[in-house]
Symmetry: C2
Subunit: 363 residues, 2 copies
């Protein structure tokens, strides 16, 4: 079977080059006589893998020296508790959340189980069709941080610019936009993301955190494995890390550098997104809930026909045409095309062509 165009929201498409390389090295990584899966995490070969991955990620994102880069387990979902536990519980125990979709809402609700978390802006009353008004946010003076999910995978929303946190620390879940464009890391206290969307296989979460925000290595009520200081001090080797996933991420980092880095990815991703949003806006059948072009995610594009039966037919017929995983998230229905770094422009054009054909046949 030829490779298909895979529009899954995550786990998602990876560069074919990376997969071929991984397959070729599966039984013998660079003359070691073993697979990366079989290597001690403290061996020289794996040490080189994780150190190189970190250095390449630092290069790609231009991460300042006073930030730690951690490769952890548990997904972004474990950090929904981990972030308040690390950044707030040992301080004022208060943090302010902006809620613009399912993931920021989940993070907010989980944080509220451990600290005094407050939702200071939300677009829930308009079904998360926009970024809430960010002018003059009612941030509490003693809030330990302000939290955003910078790209909402399910609702297809992104922040055109980061909010004015009035001097408070900004924490950002960048899972579904990680490495899709340059970001100014120095404006954040902590950036994190599950890698299974734009970077690698599920099972690795990357945390980039300003060193001075790390807590003590023991916090009452916080599992040792959730303490970011513990992992920072041990350079992600406190316990056995998800070695193979880190190895694949490292290959993707190298690949992105060779492709021109994040500036190049941003240009390509903007082009791909324009092709798809233009097709939706020009269509009489398909609609996109997010009206403001600046707030439309360049990674996750949800759209609908307005008729659930027709949506279902679209998903089925698209798959037969080699365009997979176009179903919207089960919580909102409809359709969604995730067009991460590894989805080629040709894939988006094939999708748009199919949409036109489908519209002609079904309108």
């Amino acid at each position: 079977m030829p490779r298909v165009y895979n529009f899954s929201a995550g786990p998602a498409m990876l560069p074919e080059y990376v997969l071929k390389d991984a397959a070729a090295e599966m039984l013998d990584y660079k003359g070691t006589g073993m697979s990366v899966m079989e290597m001690s995490h403290r061996s020289p070969a794996f040490t080189a893998i994780i150190k190189t991955a970190e250095r390449d990620l630092r290069d790609l994102m231009n991460i300042p020296d006073n930030y730690k880069v951690l490769f952890l387990q548990g997904g972004a979902s474990l950090q929904f508790a981990g972030i308040p536990m690390n950044l707030s519980l040992p301080k004022n125990g208060k943090a302010d959340y902006i809620v613009d979709g399912s993931w920021s809402e989940k993070a907010y609700k989980e944080a509220a189980r451990f600290i005094d978390a407050k939702c200071i802006a939300s677009s829930k009353d308009t079904n998360f069709d926009r970024i809430p008004d960010l002018s003059d946010l009612p941030i509490r003076d003693d809030a330990d941080y302000v939290y955003i999910c910078e790209n909402e995978t399910i609702h297809g929303l992104t922040y055109p610019e980061i909010p004015d946190t009035k001097g408070h620390i900004l924490v950002s879940d960048q899972s579904s936009m990680f490495l899709s464009k340059p970001v100014d890391v120095s404006k954040y206290g902590l950036i994190y993301g599950g890698v299974q969307k734009n970077v690698g296989p599920a099972g690795v979460v990357i945390v980039i955190v300003r060193e001075d925000l790390l807590p003590e290595d023991k916090i009452d009520g916080v599992p040792t494995m959730m303490n970011l200081r513990v992992h920072a001090d041990k350079e992600s080797l406190y316990n056995t890390p998800p070695c193979y996933g880190i190895y694949i991420c490292g290959k993707v980092f190298k690949y992105l550098k060779a492709q021109g880095g994040l500036e190049a990815m941003a240009i390509r991703n903007a082009e791909k997104a324009k092709i798809l949003y233009d097709a939706i806006d020009e269509s009489k059948l398909f609609k996109c809930a997010v009206a403001d072009p600046a707030q439309r995610s360049k990674m996750n594009v949800p759209f609908v026909t307005g008729n659930p039966d027709l949506d279902k037919k679209f998903v089925e017929e698209a798959a037969l045409a080699g365009l997979w995983n176009l179903k919207g998230h089960r919580s909102v229905g409809g359709l969604r095309a995730s067009i991460y770094n590894a989805v080629p422009r040709e894939g988006v054009i094939a999708l748009v062509d199919f949409m036109k054909k489908f519209e002609a046949e079904n309108l």
Copy 2:
């Protein structure tokens, strides 16, 4: 480079058959046109992978229907906090630990941060050279469980039989003996293990837990992601699981079934261990700290020459002979050969031959 004999304590050797199969499927899993790394965790293809893996594991271990099987992230180390949080915090908040090595000691210390954990037997005063006396254990009447690490990877100790817990629930860390021999699951309340020793790539921990021991789905102070009920109710798909690792574990399960199951593995592992321990006992150079043959681990065999310089020389010269990762854990020094399922008998014989040669040259 030919494949080497890899005696790493974990991540560790995997069956070559499994690695070849994974490499062949890397770009196109069974005609899906995508890698398992790229698949939505809710796709039919991945659903079949995780369901088949669970069924094969249930077959292999003969797991009763009233036990849940969970594929989680975070390693055994996260469960050091997770187990007391789930099995004790909502009940009496007391649990009793038997400490026979570094891993049970770590688990005990972490548990004591969340509940009233008590060490009821220990062999620390003899440097963990034996399983502590298990006759008439001073288990507290209201202890929620009794905890053991059934095979201590660093000290090379194993339980000849499980302790009499006087009707209390038994919790066992089986990380480094998982699937090495049949165990009677019905005698345990919870069995868990990181897979990176005997089963698959680092980044998956398997928890087998009796259904009636699962807590409510919200426990004060416990992150949602650490609640075993949450994962059980969602069949390990509460969030994105470590899909690729689960896929490899599934392949190993199938491979073990084809090899004759755990009875066959137990026979082979006992034979391999006998070859190595006999060589140590017959040697004038090498010594093993664990005196009682019944308590000697069949998976991890620590030994020493008594001379750190000679140990170092042994590790270096062995590697040149294609025998890798024979250094003891950094906390205890010396030498260690981990001879998990995937280490072939020929590998153990090659090691023993090398030991004899080294002894003749260095004694």
